[in-house]
């Protein structure tokens, strides 16, 4: 398919580190029902590049990351690390894999053990994944890398003695302890205060550059993806519905769902906007007009045949309800899964960024 020729916007950052090829994950719900949490998702991570996975809760973005982390078994598809297919059946293989691929959790209040000190949290992965000659030197170096200085001051502290930002720094340091090549960051800043989010993102950016980490940044905040990521993948109901370079995709979204996401983000430059003029007008302008009932049905990815976004989509017709569109390339670096891109985003399909690819395969 055209997928093969699509170039990731993160590709020129460095060599290929990790590939997800047609990865799917189903969960059995009982009573014969199946939840297709991740459906036929493919993307690449490159050393030194950031790929953002954006979507609402329940869209499957965290499941995708857990698949990459080896914490869930694939239903189908292949994951490759440095060109080798990942097989984490044995404990040893899993440990070796973990020394390459590390995960940062969303909630620094839950991901650190309250009965252990910072030193313990950092010594354990160092012991597991490295043969460090000087343990305490290594731990101090880790703390300095995440700018928790003076390091001595933090070693004996317990998580409850740290602020949210400091805790998240400890969990970054813990992930770095294994000297990974891939970092999977699952909403690393969304539990933190707005005022320190930027600081944490710039720290992550600094770590990415210094250690040439291939990073997957999972978020529901598409604005932060614009600033932080090279490539953005938009997920809806387990599928990637649009992908492209961060700036292009956020400034000129092609898929109706991406358009809805962008339109929903708070826009301080638009004072006296739709919000304050009242809701009636708001709903008629946005593709939000659909009743709220089907929203949850659509986003859990079970029932709907055809395009999963069709119940909420202003452009949906019979074709959309019948057949699910494949991700089709619209330019050298962009792709979207929509039957009606010509209606939804004419400027993307035939515009300056269009690159001349027809939407149909």
């Amino acid at each position: 398919m055209s997928e093969q020729t699509l170039t990731s916007a993160a590709a020129d950052r460095g060599p290929l580190a990790m590939e997800a090829i047609s990865v799917s994950k189903d969960f059995r719900l009982g009573r014969g029902q199946t939840l297709h949490a991740v459906r036929d998702v493919s993307f690449n991570l490159y050393r030194g590049g950031v790929v953002a996975l954006v979507g609402e809760s329940g869209s499957g973005k965290s499941t995708a990351a857990r698949l990459l982390a080896g914490q869930e078994r694939l239903t189908s598809g292949v994951i490759r690390l440095d060109g080798h297919q990942v097989e984490v059946s044995s404990r040893r293989a899993f440990r070796r894999y973990k020394s390459q691929v590390q995960y940062v959790f969303q909630d620094p209040f839950a991901s650190l053990n309250p009965v252990h000190t910072v030193r313990y949290h950092l010594e354990r992965p160092v012991k597991l994944h490295q043969r460090a000659a000087n343990m305490s030197q290594e731990v101090v170096a880790l703390l300095e890398q995440v700018r928790l200085t003076p390091a001595k001051h933090f070693l004996a502290k317990y998580p409850h003695e740290l602020s949210g930002g400091q805790r998240q720094r400890v969990s970054f340091a813990r992930a770095l302890a294994a000297h990974p090549s891939v970092l999977l960051a699952d909403e690393p800043v969304s539990m933190l205060d707005v005022s320190i989010r930027l600081e944490m993102l710039s720290l992550l950016d600094d770590l990415r550059r210094r250690f040439r980490l291939a990073m997957l940044y999972i978020t529901h905040d598409i604005a932060s993806a614009r600033y932080f990521a090279d490539e953005v993948l938009v997920m809806y109901a387990g599928q990637i519905v649009e992908r492209g370079p961060a700036e292009q995709l956020t400034q000129c979204p092609a898929h109706p769902y991406t358009q809805l996401l962008v339109a929903s983000a708070p826009d301080p430059d638009n004072l006296g906007s739709t919000l304050r003029r009242g809701a009636g007008r708001d709903r008629s302008q946005q593709p939000q007009g659909a009743p709220r009932g089907p929203v949850s049905a659509a986003s859990n990815g079970t029932a709907v045949a055809g395009c999963p976004f069709s119940p909420r989509c202003p452009f949906a017709d019979d074709l959309c309800r019948r057949e699910n569109p494949a991700l089709a390339q619209v330019s050298a670096t962009r792709a979207a899964a929509c039957w009606h891109l010509d209606l939804a985003a004419p400027e993307v399909v035939s515009g300056p960024q269009g690159g001349g690819f027809p939407t149909t395969q």
């Binding site: 609402e56 809760s57 602020s163 949210g164 930002g165 205060d193 707005v194 005022s195 320190i196 989010r197 930027l198 600081e199 710039s202 529901h220 905040d221 598409i222 604005a223 932060s224 614009r226 600033y227 932080f228 700036e247 956020t250 400034q251 809805l260 996401l261 962008v262 339109a263 929903s264 983000a265 708070p266 826009d267 301080p268 430059d269 638009n270 004072l271 906007s273 739709t274 919000l275 304050r276 009242g278 809701a279 009636g280 708001d282 709903r283 946005q286 939000q288 709220r292 009932g293 929203v295 949850s296």
Partner: protein, 380 residues
Amino acid sequence: MSAGPTSAPVPASGSEPVLDIRDFSVVYRTPSGDVRAVDRVNLSLAAGEVVGLVGESGSGKSTLAYGACRLLRAPAFITGGTVRYQGRRLAQRSQAADVLRMTPQELQKLRWREIAIVFQSAMNALNPVLSVRNQMLDVIHAHLRMPRDEAGERAASLLDLVGIPRSRLRSYPHELSGGMRQRVMIAMALATEPEVVIMDEPTTALDVVVQRDILAQIVELKDRLGFSILFITHDLSLLLELADRIAVMYAGQLMEVGTAGEIHREAAHPYTKGLLNSFPSLRGPRRELAGIPGSPPDLRDPPPGCPFLPRCSYGTDACTRIDMELLPVATSQDPEHVTACPFVLPDTPPREAFQAKDSLDVPDHLTLADELRTAVEPGS
């Protein structure tokens, strides 16, 4: 400069404020000393107004709101101030009632009937073992005299109001999505037609599409039913769109109060400027973002003068000697646009701001402020 710097700030315009918080202070008593969580705060809410209260976690914004409803318990103590409530239903009274002096019976009548709260975490605030219908009936029966079938009808129409199908009355909280739970919370808060609704981060846990939908609905309901909203959040970008006026809180004190437009375009306080420069924008050109390095001070032993000084790029020695008083922004047309920083103005360029003034020994911050104001706007 329409008002002199000596005149007291008068936050609400026009009509009598519904809720008027004055000199309000709350401490948390701890073994290692009192934490001054809310420190002499003045804030008022006019009828039909949306006031946004923004600040980072630990800034005291929730403590302020809960304290004003007397919902705090030990070790929190209200150490001073008044909270005057003057609703339409109580208008026949000659004087507004002070919430802080109310008896438990009066408080019972005030809460929910007059001032309702939408709590942050809908999953924790709803009772997991009661159906939506029973929880709503609980509220209605506790605060209104109403026959059973009428109360049931009211519960159903409240769900209509927030756009949830009536069939959901029989659902339990775990059967609802996060957005639906939050809508149920809003419906319950509106069950008794309150005059004031305090919303404590009602949409923080939701994703942006649902958030926008719920906010639009809140605004629509507010316009229809005419209540006032005190909206607490740490997301300033949200308030710029939603609120009429915004109060910026830091370390238990208000730093700046102004209309949404003033806060957006002419933010005077360095902390507000920092907040504005903290969120990545989706539209327009990519800006250099700085955020606010550092963390808030320990409120058990607050530093002298301005609590924001350690993180402030404009800071000078003089900042340790100022009293944190909200005074009108010198360059603003609006005397109700007030800031606690006497040195920095909306158009003060960052960093190099006061290097020249550093060496000056200024006994009184007002004189320095006045001096700077004349220096900054020569002949404008």
